[in-house]
Amino acid sequence: MKRAFPILSVLTAILLIYGLYQALVVAPTERTMGDVQRIFYYHVPSAWTAFCLFFVNLIASVVYLARKNLKADALAVASAEVGVVFCTIVLVTGPIWARPVWGIWWTWDVRLTTTLVLWLIYVSYLVLRRFSDSAQTPVLAAVLAIFGALDVPLVYFSIWFFRTQHPQPVMGKGGSLDPRMLHAFLVNLLAFSCFGAMVCWARYRLERLRRDVEEAEALESLLGPEGLSSQTSKGRAPLNRGPQ
C-alpha cells in the first residue's frame, strides 16, 4: 500500500491535467451561459467528492463507536477535514457561477442551503475536535457526526417546503447535452474523486503518524530516555512502522 501511493498520486495528477484540458479546451462553450459554465466541471465533482467524504466520515464514526477502532477514528478526522475543503470549493464556485447566470450571488434554494448547513455542521465537528484534545474526543466527534447525519434530511425537507412556495431561479438545464461536455464532466468527476481519495489518504497517514509520535513522546516522558532505549522494541516501534 505504501508503494502504491506515489504511483496513484501520479496517475491522479495525470487524470486531473487531462480533465483540465477536457474542461477548458475540448468541451464546447455553452450557448447561453458562455465560458462561466465551465466551472461546472469543477463545481459538481467537488460536491460529489465532498458528499462522498462526509458519508465516509459517518461510516467511520459509526464503526468507531461500535468497535472503538482507532484507525476508523483517524479516517473520520481525515475525511471530515478534506470534505470541508471540497465543500468550501463548492460553496465558493457556486456563487461565482450564479452571479452572471442567475444575476444573484446566493439564493436559499434547497441544494444551496443543505450544502451550507452540512458545511456548518462539519465545521462545528472540526471545531469540536480542535477544542478537545482528551481521549474522549473521538467518541464525542463520532456522536456529533451521527447527529449531523440525522439533521441533514430534516434540513432538506424544511428548505424544500419553505422554498417551493416561493419563486426561485430556474436551473440552466434542458436541451441536449453535447457528448464532449458529458465526457469532460465524467473525466473530471473521476479525477476529483481520485484526488479527494488521495488527499484523504495522505491526511489519514499523517494522522496515524501524528498519533504514533504522540504515543512515543508520552512513553518517552514516562520512562525517560534510558527507559526508552531499553524499551526500544516497544517505544520506537510505532514510529518506524510504515504507513498503512
Binding site: V117, L128, V143, L144, G148, S158
Partner: protein, 225 residues
C-alpha cells in the same frame, strides 16, 4: 422502568429546588432576553404589520440565546465535588440523569417564555391573525427541540476547553431546521398566512428523532473515557 422514573424525578426535584432557591439561571435568562427584546425594538422599530412578519424570528432568537445561558449551567453544578463522577460509577441508568436535566431545562425555558411572551406582545404590538392556540404546541415542541439537544451538547462540551463557547457552536448548526420550524410556524400563526401544519409536523419529527438519538447515545457520552 420504575427506578428510571424514580431517579429522574429525584434529580429533577433536586435541580428545581436548587434553582428555586438561588434563581441564578432564571434571573440571568430573564434579563438577557429582556435586553434582546429592547435592543431589537430599537434596531427595527417595525409597524404592526411588519412586526407580525418578523416577531417569530425575534422571539425565537431571543429564547435561543437565553436558553444557552441555562444550558451552560446544566452540568456545571455536577462538576463541583465530582458529583458527575459519582454518577458514572453509580448503577443509576444514565438516561434518567439526562431526562431529569432535559426536563429541568424545559421547565426553566418554559417559565422564561411565559414571562417574556407578554413583554413581546406589548413591545411589538402583536395580535395573532391565525389560530393563536396553535402557538402552544409550537412553543412546547420548539422548546423541547432546543433543550433536548442543548442538554446533550452541554454534556459533550463539558469535555472540551472553553466549554461555554463550545455549546452554541455545536448546538446552532444542528438546530437550524428546528429554528426554521419555530420561526415559520410562529410567523404563519401571527400573520394568519395559511396553515402551520407542515412546520408543526417538522418540529414533532425533529423532537422524536433527536430525543431518540440523545437517549441512545447519552450513556456513551457520559461514560466516554
Amino acid at each position: 422502568m420504575s427506578s428510571l422514573w424514580t431517579i429522574t424525578l429525584a434529580t429533577l426535584t433536586k435541580d428545581i429546588r436548587l434553582e428555586w432557591r438561588s434563581k441564578d439561571s432564571l434571573n440571568a435568562m430573564l434579563f438577557f432576553s429582556l435586553l434582546v427584546v429592547v435592543i431589537f425594538s430599537f434596531s427595527f422599530d417595525p409597524t404592526a404589520e411588519e412586526s407580525r412578519q418578523i416577531a417569530g424570528g425575534l422571539v425565537w432568537v431571543a429564547f435561543l440565546f437565553a436558553s444557552v445561558v441555562a444550558l451552560n449551567q446544566t452540568w456545571a453544578r455536577e462538576l463541583r465535588n465530582q458529583v458527575l463522577d459519582a454518577y458514572r460509577v453509580s448503577p443509576a441508568p444514565a438516561n434518567s440523569l439526562f431526562l431529569a436535566k432535559a426536563l429541568g431545562n424545559f421547565i426553566l425555558v418554559t417559565v422564561l417564555e411565559a414571562l417574556m411572551a407578554p413583554l413581546f406582545i406589548v413591545f411589538y404590538n402583536l395580535r395573532a391573525l391565525g389560530p393563536a392556540w396553535q402557538l402552544i404546541p409550537v412553543g412546547v415542541l420548539g422548546t423541547w427541540a432546543l433543550v433536548v439537544n442543548g442538554t446533550f451538547f452541554a454534556a459533550m462540551s463539558l469535555r472540551t476547553r472553553s466549554r461555554e463557547i463550545m455549546l452554541p457552536l455545536l448546538l446552532f448548526p444542528i438546530s437550524i431546521p428546528a429554528i426554521q420550524g419555530m420561526v415559520e410556524s410562529t410567523r404563519i400563526l401571527l400573520a394568519g398566512d395559511g396553515s402551520a401544519r407542515f412546520w408543526i409536523v417538522l418540529l414533532l419529527t425533529y423532537d422524536v428523532v433527536f430525543t431518540t438519538a440523545c437517549l441512545a447515545l447519552f450513556e456513551t457520552v457520559l461514560l466516554a473515557e
